[in-house]
Symmetry: D2
Subunit: 373 residues, 4 copies
């Protein structure tokens, strides 16, 4: 349970770190979208291991195959199945994990919930699971961009205490991709890379925060009450491995201000209603207001470290576990496209819901008399 | 759209600040639960206005009526309809709001989304909407307490920069209720009350953060991937009015630590697998691990302030709006029971899902031969 | 569980035959629809008891109240709560039912499922439960009529063996309402009324079938695979009390024909693609083809009869039960507006889904190059 | 949209007749179920073409592969992805279909809905789509059988006017499989086979009805109101290609009886509450009563016939279409395992829901005092 997401543009992901592969089925994709495997592959390549000197050196080509829903280059409106085969599996590397629970991993909780687990590579709790999300997100992003003019750019704004200067507007996507650490501020990026190399040398790991900006968003997307736009984004982000927090707009920092300084006054700017400041972060009452939407996500330091740690085995006996293998000392660079993908999935779903409820029907010309129900 | 929550224990809330009332329908409640209107009323009384010197002086008795689903003192297993009539409406107080958008409120976005809105009191975007949530949450809490031994306690841990000393364990519920500000640390509570009175005197407002602890949670609730326990909690919290952020466990602060300090080592404590620290906050891989689950929610300062603010009217003309009326200078004291209610709704839903998938079927004695599909 | 229906235009019904009342919450209603309580009341009046000499003489005014979601005569886009208070309750009439299970009623199954039940009037299994459906359906019908030009007309085409002459096209709604039995063929209607009076005199009951025609339906509503238009209609109809069967188009009768006679050939009629016959019943592959959609629903004879029947009591002892009270000897006349209501709910939901997926986004001007995902 | 089914045991199917393949993702499968590809394959083999002299001679091995969710022979509780590659594709055989709409097929409606379609083999509207259903149903059946003792057997009870003698109890599964036509009454089966061969010789096709019996069902599965057990079964069956009707229990025939003859009296039989007759078909008020559940499904004659038919082309011009290729003159023999699969999916979902709501929580020992909500 829990592997289906969305209400209109719905995705079902599947797959473990080991076994036949990972993938996703998209149900509800609009027909007529031009779509190729190459476009999806481009997003997967941003997520895959071994892409730079600061990620895990594991080699996984993660080649995506479109199995259905696309015909002669266009989406049919029927489910799109996207599969990626698993490779480079070394189950023998995981024999110790079968017996011992890795600290701050999902080994123990999966075992308690399901009575069993795939120990190799973490099974379903592996970050490989996000491949399906990124593949589906690539489709959602393209629809948002082509049809709605909505663009999404995420980036690392902080690794531990190394933070880039604050800014209220979205950076250039090219600037983000210009460094392997996906921080658009070159000096900060250099310091971040340095830090990551340092902790890796010690067999340790680091975390930080990813910020995401959405531009071109019209006013009116979102919903009152439970499915507020920021609520669905919060769920999407906290559903990602290693996340511990979410902020929209002024976030936790804004709670230190009085209301008189925090409120976003309205003004008429070039004929459009705009806010003078954007502490709301583009959403008010759960609905987009036409300003830039931005949010931040906290990622904890990678749980797998190459150091000796105290733990227990399946029988509950105290023991130690020594991390081995090829792991990311910092998950954030590869998490950037995942954050973008999840944001795209949430936004497209809300776009569809907004159209369905508020832009589908017309009662003009109705006299409201209601002479016949 | 967006007023239905949950997958098994599902609630549908309705109602505006003005009009016939507010309420909720609960679908999926287990049968046989002893339930009275008085118990639900007790939770609503913790939420209602006018309960103390630091909340709005508006008098709303908010009396709940059980219209269905309970018979001879026990739940039937059929939908429970809970209604609260609106009173004390003064629509004339809102004439200015019909024309002008209140800064950092939902007036503008509702108008853009729906083409119309109920200006009086904010309509559906009013915090009165949360009455239905608290009423349903009271039912969920009782089930969790009676049947599962799960208890939920929330409290204010910070107003602006006034924070109580940090603690990793839940405070006593009585200590929380002992002060009108619902902070269990008396000295801090006194300072918070002082601050709230000060800002109210200036016609200003303040925000802060609410922390929530869940005790007695068994290991195994939650799910991999999209419906992680913390993801559903994040959505639930960000769906509340005035919220801007969510953290679970070590949250944003934990991202400053290296993995070697952040990880929660396992140990065998009195025959049970426990973690030595609890930076995970009781969830690992989206599933509870049997430790205390705790999270924090950021609430912005109340948007309604009794000061003159720049805004625009419906035609887009620049104008000013002077806040009037009886408002909370700080929403947090009344938000405490709302946070608890939403947590209860999420947890009960996950309890039902966990039982359905993992504790319903038995394959013991199966030879696995599968001679017949 | 099971009291929420729909994916976009969602309704949650509540209420038992006795207790506070019955009602419905509609979530997802488009904004801007002119709506009054009188319009909804008109549909409820078609459903209520005591409306004619062939229905139960129970007097239930069933007055609906709009509690939310409508402001100044128009829908807000927020949840619409519609309540009807219960009256005329005579719980003392049901003391025998507390101990004995009525044959072919839901007494036994509710008791087994929930461990308890409201014996008075059948509780949630009472046909009073359909009031919420009819109220919500009245809203859906108005939207379909005003905005889409879709009209729905149901009628009784057979009581036991008394059937009206077959026709492939919809009768006039006025002709249906012209007789209390809601059969548009006067001679057949007279015979049906006679039959109903006869069986009532014997303390017995009768069933039959209701046919429903939908006109003005555009091609393209519905979906492949699970949510075929006829599948959702079948579910909606079989969810009604006393239903035992559903047929669309040629139904069971069509299975006697060879394919060469059953197929609907296409032709170009006045510039539009039409089928020469309509054995498909307006749906092909789960999607409307622009022809009239029609289906039939089987309603069994009323289970409550004023005759002595064998049964068991709660302890499992053999006993007898003598039906008493004021019951419909035939549920079909009052079921006609309920069938229409359910059809409206299904169609509107599919209209919203169709728009969301297939009419919301535009990729024209796209070069399909997909240089950026 | 429309390719996801179920609320707890949820499946997402994908795939077209041509392209990469077809398959299904199961989300919510209980962990610990022993499961092999061979068991699933056995069910697919009952569905596949070319299995007997009365089905299409197309050769499709339809080999299933388990890609995830199963580890060391047992289900993990995570999504199970089941894939079947497409083979034997002859797209050149479909050039005429690209331009002309086949009568009583989904060609026209898909084109109108989506603006495009895969003409080869019907794309998503092909009966190949049901492969994913049968694969998922094989898993559901095994759970029902091993853990709940519930067994499902479907069979053809009528081809056109050739009907087997009526019976209220389930036939033996082996008797059903003993003939290629899957009718457990040998003499009737022989006549059916004869009829199918006759119509095939003429290039024509036939339909009929499939009946399904479910034994071992406990009382209490199902739900009041919208998700009645028979309502969900009706939806499941009408979601199958070529279906036009559904009956549960006495169905349409029962509507000819008076209530006094139709009602199922209760009795105490060997210490258990049973009904003397079973016109209810095992469900009362939407909930199973412990008797055998049975229903019938109408399948129209195959739309593809090897005869010349009038139709129009994509431009709306009148034309003719001559059916070619290898088609089933009667879909029912291969539909039997599909009906069983859909029934299994509905029943397992309801089993999980029933447990979650009614068998998970215990309030015994509660004093009902509710001193604390």
């Amino acid at each position: 349970m829990g592997s289906i997401f969305g209400s209109m543009f719905r995705i079902a992901t599947w797959g473990e770190s080991h076994g036949g592969g990972v993938g996703v089925v998209i149900d509800g994709c609009p027909p007529g979208l031009p779509l190729t495997a190459e476009e999806i592959q481009a997003e997967l390549d941003r997520r895959r291991p071994g892409q730079s000197e600061i990620t895990t050196p594991r080699k996984e080509s993660d080649t995506v195959e479109i199995l259905s829903g696309v015909h002669e280059g266009f989406t049919l409106g029927t489910p799109i199945a996207l599969n990626v085969r698993n490779k480079d599996a070394r189950p023998e590397a995981y024999s110790e994990m079968r017996e011992k629970f890795r600290p701050s991993h999902a080994d123990f909780t999966y075992e308690r919930k399901f009575g069993r687990r795939m120990a190799e590579g973490g099974g379903r709790s592996s970050a490989r699971e996000t491949i399906g999300r990124v593949a589906a997100g690539a489709v959602a992003r393209k629809i948002l961009r082509l049809s709605e003019g909505v663009r999404i750019v995420a980036f690392i704004d902080r690794i531990q205490d190394i933070a880039m200067p604050p800014s209220e507007t979205a950076p250039d996507a090219e600037a983000v991709e210009a460094t392997p650490v996906r921080c658009p501020h070159p000096a900060t990026a250099a310091a971040m890379i340095e830090r990551i190399k340092e902790v890796r040398a010690k067999g340790d790991s680091v975390g930080g925060s990813i910020r995401c900006h959405i531009t071109g968003l019209p006013a009116g997307w979102g919903a009152p009450v439970f499915d507020r736009l920021e609520a669905d984004l919060a769920k999407a982000m906290l559903s990602l491995p290693a996340t511990k927090g979410f902020e929209v707009g002024s976030g936790f920092h804004g709670t230190f201000l009085p209301g008189s300084e925090h409120n976003d006054a309205f003004e008429n700017r070039q004929g459009r209603v705009r806010t003078m400041t954007n502490r709301s972060g583009g959403v008010q009452g759960g609905i987009s207001n036409g300003e830039e939407l931005y949010f931040s996500v906290a990622f904890k330091p990678t749980a797998t470290i190459l150091q000796r740690q105290a733990t227990v085995d399946k029988e509950g006996n105290a023991t130690e576990l020594m991390g081995r293998g090829r792991h990311d000392p910092c998950v954030l660079p590869r998490a950037v496209p995942i954050v973008e993908a999840m944001a795209a999935l949430v936004l497209l779903d809300h776009a569809m819901r907004h159209h369905a409820q508020c832009r589908t029907f017309s009662f003009e010309g109705s006299d409201g008399g209601g002479d016949e129900p």
